[in-house]
């Protein structure tokens, strides 16, 4: 069952990802991205990353994706759903795509990854919190600075006047 669900999620993720990059309509792409992100979230769950799964849903789906859709809407007439989303150099892109899949897949296949057996922790939130407050305090603080900067940047750029 779990196996089935896993493969289902994998299928969903990859399928919608293909749609993201292939769809001729931008809005469809955006929706497909939603499913990809959700699928990835599912995989997170399989990877025992409950906190990250939540963050993924909240930030990615709830934040970034919404931003993207806003972006689409702001740059087009709200009413038109068929915002064209054409592609270029598809053929050579496909070649690159295949090369990368093959090459990276081969790499993944060849490399003897470290694999340590471990049981599923009850939850990850506390550990992450601890890490953030101790080991990764500096990045945590710096990230705030980054967000401040991004905030200023985004607002300044989208400010209508001056």
């Amino acid at each position: 069952m779990a196996n089935f669900v896993f493969w289902l999620i994998v299928g969903l993720t990859i399928g919608s990802a293909i749609l993201v990059v292939q769809s001729k309509k931008l809005v469809y792409s955006a929706y497909a991205l939603l499913f990809t992100l959700l699928g990835v979230t599912g995989l997170y769950v399989f990877l025992w990353a409950d906190f990250l799964a939540v963050v993924q849903v909240v930030v990615y789906v709830g934040g970034i994706l919404i931003l993207i859709i806003f972006g689409i809407m702001l740059t087009n007439k709200i009413t038109s759903v068929n915002i064209s989303n054409t592609s270029v150099q598809k053929s050579i892109g496909s070649i690159v795509l295949l090369v990368f899949i093959a090459g990276l897949g081969f790499m993944v296949y060849k490399t003897p990854w470290v694999s340590v057996a471990n049981s599923e922790p009850a939850q990850t939130t506390e550990t992450i919190g601890r890490l953030l407050m101790i080991d990764y305090l500096l990045p945590f603080e710096v990230a705030s600075l980054l967000l401040l900067g991004a905030l200023i940047a985004a607002t300044t750029l989208s400010r209508k006047d001056d």
């Binding site: 931008l26 963050v55 990615y60 991004a150």
Partner: protein, 101 residues
Amino acid sequence: MDSLNNYLFVSVILFSLGLFGVITRRNGVAVLMGVELILNAANLNFLAFARFGGMNMAGHVYALFVIVLAAAEAAVALAIIINIFNNYKTINIDEVSELKQ
């Protein structure tokens, strides 16, 4: 499903699709979506390695930061795209091309 490689393969595919999207899409927003795919692929890697590396939480923290940064980046990127739209009335990045000697 309990194999690291499964996750890695998925991530590989996502990554490659992301690259594909980035290099083929004309619409700036769509290109951004490709970037998001790449970031997700990387995150998937981090978490997978974290799990199969003995629940290495550094990977989780990393992934968390990646998500945060992705958000910030998306915000700025979209602000820029909107700006572009205001000036060019298009966001097809290949049409935004006045810069040439």
